[in-house]
């Protein structure tokens, strides 16, 4: 079991954002979490990555308890994510965006930083090489020196995924990667996600509203509403679950 979430509950003040969430994720799986706005999907990502600390419950990644760990420690264990609203380092170059994600893998101390001595040279060359190789795999190598905020929207999304992969994750959390994309771009994105999954040997959790993407790519779907899991299963099972229809369309709705 790669990721095991047991009875996780999270409150914001008196508001229960996630209640009794359970998840077992096997190595190599692609799971989607869907649900109406405010269902607690992004909160689950924030709980896994340590942005929030779960009020109750346990989250284990490869047997290591994540609750109580800081975000950078969790990232170092092999979990990376992207954000719903793109959170690139806007004023920095595309190359620097990726190099920063390499932070904890660079092996030189502050003194070597200050004097540019010792392992500095070798490590810098290695990170540049690694970052450029990654960028070229994402067809972004020609933008390496460009300020990241100047990239077109689609490229920014790709850069964010590239940056997440620079941390060498085993588990990748994608938060609405298709937001703002047209149907044609969504099909491209679907191929792209399949490709990175194979190429980088990833387990993926996907949060998405675009049903075309979710149904096309997921192996398993979890549906949330008001913080509670209301349905779980294969794509076609979830699609025909009356509870899901109710959550999305209201009681008594039929397709």
């Amino acid at each position: 079991m790669l990721l095991q979430i047991d009875h996780v509950t999270h409150y914001f003040g008196g508001l229960c954002a996630v209640s009794d969430f359970n998840l077992e994720l096997k190595d190599g799986e692609l799971l989607s979490i869907i649900g109406p706005n405010g269902a607690g999907k992004t909160t689950i990502f924030n709980l896994i990555t340590g942005v929030y600390r779960a009020t109750q419950g346990s989250i284990q990644f490869q047997g290591v308890e994540l609750v109580g760990k800081k975000p950078d420690q969790i990232t170092n264990l092999g979990i990376a994510r992207t954000f719903q609203n793109i959170r690139l380092f806007k004023e920095l170059s595309v190359l620097d965006n990726v190099r920063i994600a390499n932070y904890s893998q660079v092996r030189y101390n502050p003194l070597e930083s200050l004097l540019h001595l010792g392992r500095y040279r070798r490590e810098e060359e290695r990170t540049i090489q690694e970052a450029m190789d990654l960028l070229s795999a994402f067809k972004l190598e020609d933008y390496a020196e460009e300020t990241s905020k100047n990239l077109p929207y689609g490229s920014q999304r790709r850069l964010e995924i590239a940056r997440a992969l620079a941390t060498h994750p085993k588990l990748l959390l994608l938060d609405e990667p298709a937001a703002g994309m047209n149907p044609h771009e969504i099909i491209q994105l679907m191929d792209f996600i399949r490709w990175i999954r194979k190429e980088f040997d990833l387990t993926i959790i996907l949060i998405e509203h675009q049903m075309r993407l979710v149904m096309g790519i997921s192996e398993r779907i979890k549906v949330l509403d008001f913080g509670a899991t209301i349905s779980e299963g294969l794509p076609h099972e979830v699609q025909n679950d009356p509870k899901v229809l109710e959550a999305y369309l209201g009681e008594g709705a039929e397709l």
């Binding site: 950078d72 959170r87 920095l92 904890s104 200050l114 810098e124």
Partner: protein, 351 residues
């Protein structure tokens, strides 16, 4: 006649070739620094410029150290520290006490670099003490903590009679000279620039851009913040030590909030997140204050007005987040190009 002109042409070509190598290998900056270093000896030796201008040149150097070091925290890291003069005071007092009370006068000149270093280290230590609790808070709170720190330093010094209390320390030896100012300025700028173009420095930049994303991209933000703050206060201490041995008199009043405000003005005038900006900001500010001396009190009206107009027409300052190419390490400047070249010619030797 013809032979001499061709010899001249020959020389011309050689010079041109030399110039091109210097440009291509990015040697111009080191060459200029070398010339500057020699000048820093020659100017006071032969009085190439009058002593008043020499004095201003040394203040420019000290202000460049202050401005660059504050830019590290305020510009590169995007925090808002307003108590830089407090760290300067720590460095100034430690070094001044060492040279006036501890070190015998005839050794003072020889041990001066160590004295300055001691001032810097003392300030760095105080910086660590301030940083640990204050970085638990975010944004505006750091401004309040550093503001309070500046006031505390001032009143603590005022209340210790052993170090002169409110009267300060008079009669400090004039140990700061052109060469030392030049060396410390270059050293400070070089080290801060190195730090920015390193793994830790990129961590500093990422905190400014988006701290949460930075955390999630494996940056140990707490460690990076501490580092940046310690380095910043270290160089404030260095500048304070140089300042004390140039002014030859220090008192708590010298290091009040107004001094901190001056340094802030230099940073935002020159532009945040830029080494060249800090050099320009410190130079322009210092020189302008001197040039405007005939205006007397009116210059304290004029300078803020300059700043107001600057903020309206150039809100990021003169350089704002842009950097002079010479200051960017070649490896970073040409990263993409080098990579492409290597890819086109496999097995080509690196560099």
């Amino acid at each position: 006649m013809t032979t001499s002109s061709s010899a001249l042409g020959n020389w011309f070509h050689r010079l041109k070739a030399l110039w091109e190598t210097i440009i291509a290998k990015r040697w111009l900056l080191p060459v200029l620094l070398g010339i500057g270093f020699i000048l820093s000896f020659l100017i006071p030796q032969f009085n190439l410029v009058n002593p008043y201008i020499q004095l201003i040149m040394m203040y420019v150097g000290i202000n460049i150290i202050l401005c660059t070091s504050l830019n590290l925290v305020n510009g590169y890291m995007g925090e808002f520290s307003v108590g830089h003069a407090g760290f300067m005071a720590v460095g100034a007092y430690i070094s001044a006490l060492l040279t006036t009370k501890v070190i015998p006068p005839d050794l003072g000149a020889w041990l001066f670099p160590l004295t300055v270093l001691a001032g810097g280290l003392g300030a760095a230590l105080v910086g660590l003490v301030v940083a640990v609790p204050s970085f638990r808070t975010r944004g505006d709170y750091l401004a309040i903590v550093t503001l309070a720190f500046n006031m505390i330093v001032k009143s603590v010094i005022e209340n210790i009679e052993a170090i002169g209390g409110p009267r300060g320390i008079p009669g400090i030896y004039k140990l700061t000279n052109m060469p030392w100012t030049f060396i410390w300025t270059v050293l400070a700028v070089w080290i801060i620039r190195n730090f920015i173009y390193s793994n830790h420095g990129r961590g500093v930049l990422s905190i400014r851009e988006d701290e949460i994303a930075s955390d999630l991209m494996s940056v140990n933000t707490r460690q990076v913040k501490l580092l940046a703050f310690i380095i910043s206060s270290f160089f404030a201490g260095i500048a304070g030590a140089l300042f004390a041995h140039l002014l030859q008199f220090i008192s708590p009043r010298v290091f009040d909030i107004l001094k901190s405000t001056d340094i802030l003005l230099m940073v935002y005038l020159g532009g945040i997140g830029s080494i060249m900006g800090s050099i320009l900001g410190a130079t322009i500010f210092t020189v302008l204050l001197e040039v405007l001396r005939p205006l007397q009190e009116w210059r304290f009206v004029f300078m803020p007005l300059v700043l107001v107009f600057l903020m309206i027409y150039r809100p990021r300052g003169i350089m704002g987040l842009r950097e002079f190419r010479w200051f960017v390490p070649a490896r970073d400047l040409l990263a993409g190009k080098t990579w492409r070249l290597k890819k086109e010619v496999p097995n080509a030797p690196a560099d």
